[in-house]
Symmetry: C2
Subunit: 142 residues, 2 copies
DNA sequence: GTTTAATGTAATTATATCGGTTACAGTTAA
DNA sequence: TTAACTGTAACCGATATAATTACATTAAAC
């Protein structure tokens, strides 16, 4: 998983809270990154129908969904990322030794299980949940 | 998480199955990587007391633990890795906006939860489990 | 229609990480 | 004393990630 997921979630939470259209420049300033990166990532959210956008004067990005209905699992799917994924594989399926030929498959299975578990957990967190967490009254310090 | 974890688990499973001392070169061949990398990673396993080693002629690495008692959680701790961890943080705690200043903390919390959940699951998988999975009779193909 | 301000998108650059390689000092046993 | 191995550092190259720059496209205002 890369920070694209963080940028995507942060942008959505920001758009949801402001309740108005925002330019990539305004979002980039809030997220602390550059506008082109924001545009590239928000384009994925748009293609997944999580937001809409408009070019031209007074254009920008709009979030018009129910924040209680959009989960972090949806956002992750939109940016096409996995939580647990390792490219490198050990051994070689062509080798005679059953350890050498089988370990990659076993590890893949383990990582797939972990990944699915993480995704299931992300499905239970909504954009609204995060807004509430950021703006709850009870920010007891001690 | 990096492939060091894979190399560590593969090496342990291989050592456990062979039931004899093996050199970094033999392990590297089975894992399909280079001996120096194997030595660097197995050194961490040694420091975590999961294996022992001996230099000199007929030296090598030894696994003398109960394979039912060594879990993937132990291996992960030995190589000092997290499952879910993203370095990049959005926003800036010094900014006035509560979204900009709070999102990094919220995301950290989410990732920590996922990471802990993955580690808990890895604690339920032992080296013996993997050996059984690799060498079980019932490898039914259809 | 022209200007202005924004998105969509590609190309490039900078940097960090990761795995591979080489080298060699230290260790152990024949 | 030699041979074989671990311990460990230094370095290299590839890959991936984020930042930057640029520009065509789109939409609204004038």
């Amino acid at each position: 998983m890369t920070a694209e997921f963080i940028v995507a979630v942060h942008s959505l939470v920001f758009l949801n809270h402001k309740k108005c259209s925002l330019s990539s420049e305004m979002i980039a300033e809030n997220v602390c990154t550059n506008p082109a990166r924001v545009r590239k990532i928000l384009l994925k959210l748009k293609k997944a129908d999580l937001i809409s956008s408009k070019g031209g004067t007074d254009g920008g990005y709009f979030f018009e969904k129910d924040p209680k209905a959009v989960t972090l699992r949806d956002v992750l799917a939109a940016v096409e990322l996995d939580v647990v994924k390792i490219k490198w594989r050990s051994g070689d399926t062509d080798m005679d030794c059953e350890v050498a030929s089988g370990m990659a498959g076993v590890m893949d299975g383990i990582f797939n299980t972990l990944d699915a578990s993480c995704k299931a957990q992300l499905a239970s967190i909504t954009i609204d949940d995060i807004d509430k967490q950021l703006f709850k009254e009870n920010k007891n310090e001690l």
